[in-house]
C-alpha cells in the first residue's frame, strides 16, 4: 500500500461555514460529537477483543458508521423516537442510555434492562425512546411509520428516525413503510446507512439504482445521498429533514454512504468477499479521523486534548466492563416472565403458568 492510497480525505469546512450551519457553539458541539465517536470506537475495539476471549457471546461493531449515529444525536430531540437498524447503539448512549446499562446488556446479565433476552448489541432503552430491535431486517421501518402516525394523532412534535442498512432497502417493510409514510405525509426521517455490504453481498447486487436514495421518488418523498463519513454533511442533511417532518411536511429518505470498517459481526470473515483495497479506501474516509482533522485544523483540538479524550474513553469502558462482568446471569425464573402481561399470569404462551 502506498501512502497516497490511505491519505485521509479532509473535511473542507471553515469556521464561518460551521457557524452558519451548526451555530455559534459549533466547536463545542462538534467536540462533543468527537468524544462520543471516540467512545464508540473504543467500545468496538474492546468488545471485539472480549468476544474473542469468550467473555461476551457476540459483538456487532459500528466502526466507520459513527458520523451518522452521532450526527443523529446532534439533530434529534428527547421527544423523538429511534428505531435502530443494526449499528445505532452509539446513538442510544449519546441520547443518555447509560454505558453501564449497555454493558450489562452486552454481558446479558441480571442487570441488563432487557433481562438477557437478546444477543449483544440489541439493546432496549425506553427512557430515551430507543425501541427494542430484532435481528430481522427491515421490520422496524413500518413500525417507525406507525409510531409517527400515533405521535401526529396526539399532536406531539416527535419525529421517528428509522435506521436501516442498504440490504434492508430490499425488504418488504422498506416498501410498506416508505409507501405508507408517503401517503400519510408522516414525520419520519428514513436513514439508510449504506455501508456498501449486506454481510457479503455488495450494494450493486442489492439494487440496480445508482443511488438508493432514488427510491424515495417512488414513494413521493424527497431523497438525498449524503457522505456518511462527513459528520457535517450528515448534520446538514438530517437537520432540515427533521425540521421538515416536525413542521408536518412529511418524510424524507437520506442515504448515508459510508464504509464498514470491520467484519459484519464477530461471526464474519470479510477476507472471503472483500477486495484487498477495501480497507484502504475505508480508512481514507474514516469518519472519526476526518472530524478529528477538521477540529485540529480549526484549532478546536490539540494533541493533549486528543490524548485525554482517548484515555477517558478507555478508562470509562474498562470501568464499565469491570462492573458488568461480575454481575450474575438473569435468574432462572425470568425465563418465563414477560411473555404476556403480568395480569395474564407467568409462564408459557398458554398463560397456564
Amino acid at each position: 500500500m502506498t501512502e497516497s492510497e490511505t491519505e485521509l480525505v479532509p473535511l473542507p469546512y471553515d469556521a464561518a461555514h460551521l457557524v452558519a450551519l451548526v451555530g455559534d457553539d459549533w466547536g463545542e458541539r462538534l467536540l462533543g460529537a468527537y468524544r462520543w465517536m471516540i467512545l464508540g470506537r473504543t467500545l468496538d475495539a474492546r468488545m471485539l477483543g472480549l468476544q474473542r476471549q469468550g467473555r461476551i457471546g457476540f459483538y456487532g461493531p459500528a466502526t466507520g458508521q459513527e458520523a451518522v449515529t452521532v450526527g443523529a444525536w446532534l439533530v434529534s430531540r428527547p421527544e423523538d423516537w429511534i428505531f435502530p437498524g443494526l449499528r445505532e447503539q452509539l446513538l442510544a448512549l449519546a441520547r443518555g442510555h447509560s454505558l453501564d446499562a449497555y454493558l450489562h446488556h452486552l454481558f446479558a446479565n441480571d442487570q441488563d434492562p432487557a433481562r438477557g433476552r437478546q444477543m449483544p448489541c440489541h439493546p432496549t432503552a425506553r427512557e430515551i425512546h430507543y425501541v427494542s430491535m430484532s435481528s430481522v431486517i427491515g421490520t422496524q421501518i413500518s413500525q417507525a411509520v406507525g409510531m409517527a402516525y400515533a405521535a401526529r394523532s396526539k399532536r406531539a412534535s416527535s419525529v421517528a428516525f428509522a435506521f436501516f442498512g442498504d440490504g434492508a432497502t430490499s425488504s418488504n417493510d422498506f416498501h410498506a413503510g416508505m409507501n405508507l409514510a408517503g401517503v400519510q405525509r408522516l414525520p419520519v426521517v428514513f436513514c439508510c446507512t449504506n455501508n456498501q455490504w449486506a454481510i457479503s453481498v455488495p450494494v450493486d447486487r442489492q439494487s440496480a439504482v445508482a443511488h438508493l436514495s432514488m427510491k424515495a421518488t417512488a414513494y413521493g418523498m424527497p431523497g438525498a445521498t449524503v457522505d456518511g463519513t462527513d459528520i457535517v454533511a450528515v448534520y446538514a442533511a438530517l437537520a432540515p429533514a427533521a425540521e421538515r417532518a416536525r413542521r408536518g411536511e412529511g418524510p424524507t429518505m437520506l442515504e448515508f454512504v459510508l464504509f464498514r470498517m470491520t467484519p459484519h459481526s464477530s461471526s464474519d470473515d470479510p477476507s472471503r468477499y472483500q477486495a484487498r483495497d477495501w480497507m484502504d479506501r475505508a480508512r481514507a474516509h474514516d469518519p472519526v479521523r476526518r472530524l478529528e482533522g477538521l477540529l485540529e485544523t480549526l484549532g478546536q483540538l490539540d494533541a493533549g486534548q486528543k490524548a485525554g479524550i482517548a484515555r477517558d474513553a478507555d478508562l470509562e469502558v474498562r470501568r464499565a466492563i469491570s462492573v458488568a462482568e461480575v454481575v450474575p446471569p438473569p435468574s432462572p425464573e425470568s425465563l418465563l416472565q414477560d411473555v404476556l402481561a403480568p395480569s395474564a399470569g407467568t409462564g408459557a404462551a398458554t398463560g397456564r403458568g
Binding site: 433481562r115 413500525q143 411509520v145 400515533a150 414477560d338 411473555v339
Partner: protein, 325 residues
Amino acid sequence: MTELTLVQAVNRGLFEAMRSDPDVLVLGEDVGVNGGVFRATEGLLKEFGEERVIDTPLSETGIVGAAIGMALYGLKPVAEIQFVDFIYPAFDQIVSELAKFRYRSGGQYPCHVVIRSPYGGGIKGGLYHSQSPEAYFAHTSGLKVIVPSNPADAKGLLLTAIHDEDPVLFLEPKRIYRAVTGEVPDGDHRVPFGLASTVREGSDVSVFAYGAMVHVAAQAVDALATEGIHAELIDLRSLVPLDEKALLASVEKTGRAVIVHEAPRFCGFGAELAAIIAEKALYSLKAPVVRVTGYDTPFPYALEHLYLPNMERVAHAIRKTAQAA
C-alpha cells in the same frame, strides 16, 4: 339487549370501544369508505373520521407493522386483515415482532395490538378465502388467540381484546357472520379470556369445538340426544389462553373426547388438546380421543362440502366414541 348478527356484534363492539376510548383506532384495507368487505367497520369513518379509521395501502406487513408502532406509542390499534388467508405477508411482523416485543425488551415495550380477521370455510371461497391458520399463531408464545362463535361472545371477547394488555389475534368465523343471530348485551359488554363455554351439558362424550364448528357440533349433539347419547359440547372461545380446567373437567366426567376443527388435522390445534388430555387425564379415558377436522390438503373449492366437518361426520365420531369399549 339487541338482536344482532355476528358481524353486527363485531361492529357494535368497535363502536363501543372507539366511543369510550379515544386511543382506539382501526386500520386496514377497505375499512373506511367501504366499511370493510364484510361491513364489520361500517359507519366508523362517519363517526370517528379519517384519523381513527384508516384505509391503508394494500400491504399486510405494512398494516401490522404500523399498528405495532402505534401501540408502542400508546394507542390501541385494531388492525383488520381482510381475509386471514392474506395474513402471511404480516407473519414476520406478528411472529417476530408483535409477539416478542414485551419479552425481548425485558417488559419495557409491551405491544398491544388487536388483529381482527375473518377466517374459515363454508362460503365457497376456495384456497385463499377459507383458511383456518390458528395453530400457527397459537404455537407462537406471546400472542393470544380468540375465536368467538356467537354474536354476544363476538362483542364481549372483542371488547376484552381491545382493553387487554397483550397482542390478540381475533379470528371471526365469517361463515356465520350473518347465519347466526343472537341477543347481545348493550354497552361495554365483556367476556373474559381463558373461559370456555358449555353449550350443551352431557355425561357420555365431551365434544370440543370453536368458531363455526360449534354450530355443526351442536347439530350433531342434538341429533344424538334422540338416540340416547348425551354429549357435552364445549365452545373453547379462547385458544390462548386455554381453559384447560374446563377441558380436563369435562373429560374426567365423560371419559370420552371428540375434537372438532376446520383446519387440517396434522399439527392442528386439536393435536394440542389431545396431548393435554393424554398428559393430564389419560386415566379418565374410556376410549381413544377422536379428531374431526379438515383434511391434510389445501382448502378446496368445488369439494368444500366434503372437506369441512359436517353434522354427519361429527355425529359419527361421537357415536363411535360413545360406543367404544
